[in-house]
């Protein structure tokens, strides 16, 4: 059987989006979505589902698109994935569902991500996702009305998922966030051009309508002691992320113009520095920006800096094949004119007499034997140093455990990297305390944090009913 080609998603032209924080991907129309949906072979044993961390019935929701029954499709999606509009946009589908699609054997996989997003956006436009419908939407759920109270600490993907899973079965949830906006990495980390903040806002609103109580500006551990939470709640979920940025630690790191990707992106996304001086928080890009790293965060930082008017070079110590970023992001970055220097690593930062960054000294690398991660280990090539002139450098080399809350919670067992130790249901060394997301696994993806949130919610319910 001949399979038609995968239909690309309409996008803003690179020349336009270089100057704009508007969303790059425009999404499918109903007609295109149905065409793409028809490419799905409706496998008897769907391999795609095994590739999904939250186990969405992928052939099921796609089948309903073909049939034109988008509301039913949306219900199927929503029953397994609380945040389809977000996951459709930010999941690394090529290593999950789409990577497991059988069409890979003869061509390109079904564009599952774009279809998921289409259904979620369509549902939003029709108003199916708001409260009036939540009764019907979740009518399969038994309303236990368990009269228990749960505190969720952190409003990122893990925390939101737990709040949803517990809220929909009538458990009272108080959700605490230290920042002044809800959404965690979805609002401070991922840029507007990849995930419009209105989408995050409407998911929060839907949770509020479900009865979840939201409290912002509350640094748990400082404003409310963990002891108090333990007394007041029947269970606690910790989803505070792995938000502390790592630095290369090379000479010159204290110079002005050296940013962590977290700081750069938080200024741009959460504080809206791209609208300075209308918004008060400033950001510096200068003329030339060097971004260090090969993950999604590096791509987000690079593409944000480009949109602020800089010429941007990404420096990565391995080759393009080893880049952990979503394929689509690398592709978009290249289209927009971002330069990549592979097999290159910075060794020190050079400053001028005012303590400002002037350049990045780099060294060329080559790939040696595979290391414990299975990837070939990059090794420096002697005497290959060279200098890139730069006004700003953004380090996007990963994050580590945020000790902010944990330092106030010494009884909680952590591993040698400072992440919380849990069982498969997210239960920690303290029975009524559960955890999930990056604070357990280390820096990972939105969908894995959501998967952990679902599992922890299951664990919490079991614990509460015991």
């Amino acid at each position: 059987m001949a399979v038609r080609d995968r239909i690309p998603v309409p996008e803003l032209e690179p020349d336009i989006r270089k100057h704009s924080f508007s969303e790059v991907s425009l999404g499918y129309t109903l007609e295109i979505a149905q065409e793409e949906a028809k490419r799905c072979l409706q496998c008897k044993i769907p391999t795609c589902i095994s590739g999904c961390p939250v186990g969405i019935d992928i052939p099921g929701f796609i089948k309903e698109i073909v049939a034109g029954n988008i509301e039913k499709s949306f219900r199927i999606l929503k029953s397994q994935n609380y945040l389809p509009a977000i996951c459709g946009r930010v999941c690394p589908q090529e290593v999950q569902c789409e990577g497991a699609c059988v069409l890979n054997k003869i061509g390109k996989p079904v564009n599952i991500g774009a279809l998921e997003r289409f259904v979620a956006d369509f549902a939003q436009a029709q108003g199916w996702s708001n409260s009036n419908n939540s009764e019907t939407l979740y009518k399969t759920e038994s309303k236990n009305n368990i009269s228990k109270k749960v505190a969720v600490v952190g409003s990122g993907p893990a925390g939101l998922t737990v709040a949803f899973e517990l809220g929909k079965i009538g458990i009272s949830v108080d959700l605490y966030e230290a920042l002044h906006e809800f959404g965690g990495v979805l609002v401070y980390g991922i840029p507007e051009f990849r995930l419009p903040k209105d989408i995050v806002k409407r998911e929060i609103t839907a949770l509020e309508e479900l009865g979840v109580n939201f409290f912002k500006n509350i640094p748990i551990g400082y404003a409310i002691h963990p002891r108090e939470l333990m007394e007041k709640y029947d269970a606690i979920f910790i989803g505070v992320g792995a938000g502390t940025p790592k630095f290369m630690g090379i000479s010159g790191s204290e110079l002005n113009g050296v940013y962590s990707a977290n700081e750069f992106l938080t200024r741009v996304n959460l504080m809206k520095a791209y609208k300075f001086p209308e918004y008060d928080t400033p950001i510096r890009v200068g003329k030339r920006v060097v971004v260090i790293g090969g993950g999604n965060t590096a791509m987000d930082a690079a593409r944000s800096a480009l949109r602020l008017g800089a010429k941007v070079t990404v420096v990565y110590r391995r080759t393009e094949a080893e880049m952990p970023a979503r394929r689509a992001e690398v592709h978009h970055a290249k289209e927009e004119g971002i330069e990549f220097l592979f097999l290159t690593n910075p060794v020190r930062y050079l400053g001028n007499e005012h303590g400002k960054l002037a350049g990045v000294e780099c060294i060329k690398m080559e790939l040696g034997e595979p290391d414990e991660s299975g990837r070939r280990k990059p090794l420096p090539l002697p005497d290959s140093n060279f200098i890139i002139e730069a006004d700003v450098v953004i380090e996007a080399i990963g994050t580590e455990s945020n000790r902010f809350l944990l330092s106030q919670f010494p009884d909680l067992k952590t591993n040698k990297y400072g992440y919380i130790v849990t069982n498969e249901y997210g239960q920690t060394s303290i029975p009524k305390v559960f955890a999930g997301g990056d604070i357990v696994t280390g820096s990972a993806t939105v969908i894995l944090a959501m998967g952990a949130g679902k599992k922890a919610a299951e664990g919490i319910v079991k614990f509460l009913l015991e």
């Binding site: 640094p219 300075f276 001086p277």
Partner: protein
């Protein structure tokens, strides 16, 4: 949790302490009940505001106090807030509390608005039995704010640049004079960066630990951005060890003898041009502010 009552962030009192310097009492039970000396809050004045870190200067039941000097757009906007108005956001308490212990004799130095920050620390040090000698400094007598609030001090020295009160000179002159009489076991010094740097040099020469409260540029205040990082450099015998610390979660207090002041002060200047631009635009909008 009763959101309305517990932390509505409303200004319940405002007082002008000197030109462009104001004291505010703000309702927020989470801050007031939990704050310890040395900790800070982050405020936002509006939807478009920066996150502004400010040391907590006192607490009383459901209220806490801050003292702010109008120097740029954000602090000026803050100082223009009036009684009855709420802050857009208040987060806190943040940062590690001061290490309040019995040390014996302690010298506590406050300069400019740093006087407000040093007050709760000095009080707490006194409460655990230390001999607390306070040195306050400013340009002139009227800028030595809150000087009436130190009656508990074992000794109070005032230094003014113009000699309008106390010693004519800076707090460094006051410190050196004090050390001629007796040397303390530990020092606290809070004020402008240059003042903290100079007092730290004096402490280093005398080999006395000195806590300074660093006013680094921050965004989140919870260890997530690293913008407030400070380089600490320890020289021992023939070795030099360096470490990067975050002011928001590892501080704000550090031993000033080990702070690498040059890069710290240069990092404070990193948005100088943007700050100037924002302030000029703001002044065009609000007009003359000489009354503030």
């Amino acid at each position: 949790m009763d959101n309305e009552r517990k932390y509505n962030n409303i200004i319940v009192s405002k007082r002008r302490l000197s030109k462009g310097t104001y004291e505010f009492w703000i309702t927020n039970e989470l801050v007031s009940k939990n704050a310890q000396p040395g900790q800070f809050v982050i405020l936002r004045t509006s939807e478009t505001s920066e996150r502004i870190p400010i040391t907590i200067a006192d607490t009383n039941e459901d209220k806490f106090r801050i003292v702010v000097k109008a120097v740029g757009k954000s602090t000026t906007e803050l100082c223009m807030k009036n009684v009855g108005e709420p802050f857009y956001d208040v987060v806190g308490p943040l940062g590690k509390p001061s290490e309040i212990n019995y040390y014996g004799e302690v010298v506590v130095v406050g300069g400019g608005v740093g006087i407000a920050a040093i007050l709760p620390i000095a009080k707490a040090l006194k409460n655990v039995g230390n001999i607390v000698k306070v040195i306050l400094g400013a340009k002139s007598s009227e800028e030595v704010i809150l000087k009436d609030e130190f009656p508990f001090a074992d000794k109070l020295t005032i230094c003014t640049d113009d000699g309008s009160e106390g010693i004519k000179g800076t707090v460094v002159d006051g410190m050196i004079r004090e050390f001629e009489i007796s040397k303390p076991n530990v020092i606290w010094s809070v004020g402008p960066a240059r003042m903290m740097e100079r007092t730290s040099f004096v402490a280093l020469e005398n080999n006395i630990p000195i806590w300074v409260s660093l006013n680094a540029i921050m965004v989140d205040g919870t260890g997530m951005c690293g913008g407030c990082r400070v380089l600490l450099r320890r020289k021992e015998e023939n070795t030099v060890s360096e470490e990067i610390r975050y002011v928001c979660v590892d501080g704000p207090e550090f031993d000033g003898r080990f702070v690498e002041w040059e890069s710290f002060i240069s990092r404070l200047q990193q948005y100088k041009e943007e700050e100037k631009r924002a302030f000029e635009k703001f002044l065009e909008e609000v007009g003359d502010l000489s009354w503030l």
